[in-house]
Symmetry: C2
Subunit: 446 residues, 2 copies
Amino acid sequence: MKETALPLDSKTVARLADDLGFDIKHASIREMNKLVDSLERAFDMKFIRMEFGIPGLETHPVGIEAEIQALRRRKVSHRYAPFDGVPILKKEAAEFVRLFMNVEVPPSSCVPTVGAMQGCFAAIALAGRLHEERKTILFLDPGFPVNALQVRFLGFERASIDLFDHRGDALLEAIEERVRRGDVSAVMWSSPNNPTWVCLTEEELAGIGRICDQHELIAIEDLAYFGMDQRRDYYEPGVPPFQPTVLSATRRGICLISASKIFSYAGQRIALAVISPELVQAKAPALEEYYGTDRVGHAFIHGILYPMTACVPESPQYGLQALLRAANSGDRSVFSAASVYAERAKAVKSAFLKSGFRLVYDKDLDEPLSDGFYFTISYPGFDEGSDLVERLLLYGISAITLDSTGSCRREGLRACVSMIDESRFDALEQRLAAFHRDHPCRRSTS
Amino acid sequence: MKETALPLDSKTVARLADDLGFDIKHASIREMNKLVDSLERAFDMKFIRMEFGIPGLETHPVGIEAEIQALRRRKVSHRYAPFDGVPILKKEAAEFVRLFMNVEVPPSSCVPTVGAMQGCFAAIALAGRLHEERKTILFLDPGFPVNALQVRFLGFERASIDLFDHRGDALLEAIEERVRRGDVSAVMWSSPNNPTWVCLTEEELAGIGRICDQHELIAIEDLAYFGMDQRRDYYEPGVPPFQPTVLSATRRGICLISASKIFSYAGQRIALAVISPELVQAKAPALEEYYGTDRVGHAFIHGILYPMTACVPESPQYGLQALLRAANSGDRSVFSAASVYAERAKAVKSAFLKSGFRLVYDKDLDEPLSDGFYFTISYPGFDEGSDLVERLLLYGISAITLDSTGSCRREGLRACVSMIDESRFDALEQRLAAFHRDHPCRRSTS
């Protein structure tokens, strides 16, 4: 396919967005997705698609074959799975948590969910009803935009502290200050962070854990990108360094481990919620009204997950069990997706930086960020990410605004590398060069 | 295994229940399940298990093989499925609705869900927020107990009209009277009905549809037992009679079609929500606050299903598509589970009746009930179902009380035939005979 002349005609782009009923400047991920589909057809060109975080690599066959065995030999398809998960998966998961996170939990603390989406929903649904008067979930932003939708769905409130200007002690002080108002029931974050790839340090996690214990909050840790901080090697079982986790530092943690990214296994919707054993056993009378029990662990499984989907489809539970077993036995090939994304990120990020872009979130305290699934960019002269996103579309590159992820940095965009394989690097460089040529780096209104 | 002497020792039974922390008289399905597991171990005997409605037959291979193809050849496991479902499934589903229900809907009206459990949850979540001041879901009881949990989860209210004393015009009058109070947002029922096997007539459905249109309610129809009214043959595509449905009679229907029972496919959690096309297009400003849009169809998919589980696991979508395609092409073997259950019900029901039991819900207006997955029983002299359930346990037979399903008939029990194959009929008859011998049928306090 020959390269189309750039920039694309802005009137045509505006008309196509209009036809779909979208405002380009405020499009959601899904709307941007549809718009880019339509632009690709209209201009007969392939975009560099960075708007959407979908795992572009195939699932390791060990997971797929285990699913097939479960369907053919174990004949799991006609019966309901146990509501708290298939026992051998729970056992393997506890072993995984021990070997890769250095945390001891019983199998009963490891509960499969229909993707981490359901796990997050359930954790929020639990937290917001743990105390009658505490309906606010405090997010360390930016974050996964759908968590905000979940809070809204459940009729709770959302509060926010931005990681851009709060790290280390400043982060802990800000959390503690916000929590003191008395309306917060949980603190929630992802690390490595979607969209910035910021990784919270062990000291930060220890502080958050302490605050949660002290104020009876739930610590909701989204490990969607487990071990994907590529500055360290977290994929050797039983050997340090271990994936940092708040579970090491609190009696009130719920940690969501998605199989979508680490195992490139998004389509079958399988994840784990790992719950602090003390939290499983805890009682909270306010839960009774909504979930029919005051026991936290019982409420999570029977009062929340059960009425949502009855149980988790059974064959993916065996698929995940096989992947965890391979990981636990030291087979690193099941983690290969993670390093592929890191390599891509390195190349793609450097192409952006070469063409005058800057990283918005650029450091973990004193340390440069890891390469991974996402990074954040801005361009001198663009004060509004929505203007930048619109302009980049004319150069065949799509992304979403940081604003839409809850970030305080209005100038920034989130870029995802999952869909850009090596064959697109040249096209990316050419397009970025054309953009840079047309937008010399100096302070100006866009 | 030799038959154990009956009745079992009541003190031992009471102690085992106590050990588990259950009150036999008020045990939930799941608690009863655990108790019977423990009784079977303690007395070294197999119970006649009628407490639990799990599909006991294997899924038709056409579904399983389609899942395996999807995993191996289509490589669906690493990518997210479309949020509104796989297109070929949606198309096949619309065809199924046309051929077996005689209703025309576009594929966009057919949305897969993670089991009908998620479909019910989503339908209730939609209905209860359609109008600001209408938070009550009106149930035609008895019904599936988990629907009540879902209402409670969502913080809505539950109202009830019992099918025992309301059928035909009396049912419609009762609905209309209750609706006039102004707080009802939806009417919900299952037909064939869990637990009574009552089937609403086309006239009743037409009346409910009319009331829903008139009062802007949602009609939520749970067709978990699609076509399993064995008095008629609903399994011939394109040929009357058709499965009666409220979709024929309203512009505001959501019909849940579970694959768990008709296709014995419960373990992989796959079902369809079929939504009236007019409802998909309708607008409701009150939805905006919770689901970020006022468009009903958009809210259902992007505001409700998406934040719950992101999408439905993809391989089961292909499995269901293959089963529907087979059904649509006239292959009746995919429906074989339904007739097996009916045969069992006939034999099991007659064994109960021979031993002095009575049916609690015994007629559809003038017509005797069909045989199917469930039926309802009582025994002369037992005014409380909880006493009867406790006593039957001593004879190696388990069930749940009708009371726990929202029925007004306190004396009744729900019996499910799914786990009783032919090899157990003799044991059942012997145990019922022993019970009958020890409890001669006359009016007495139990």
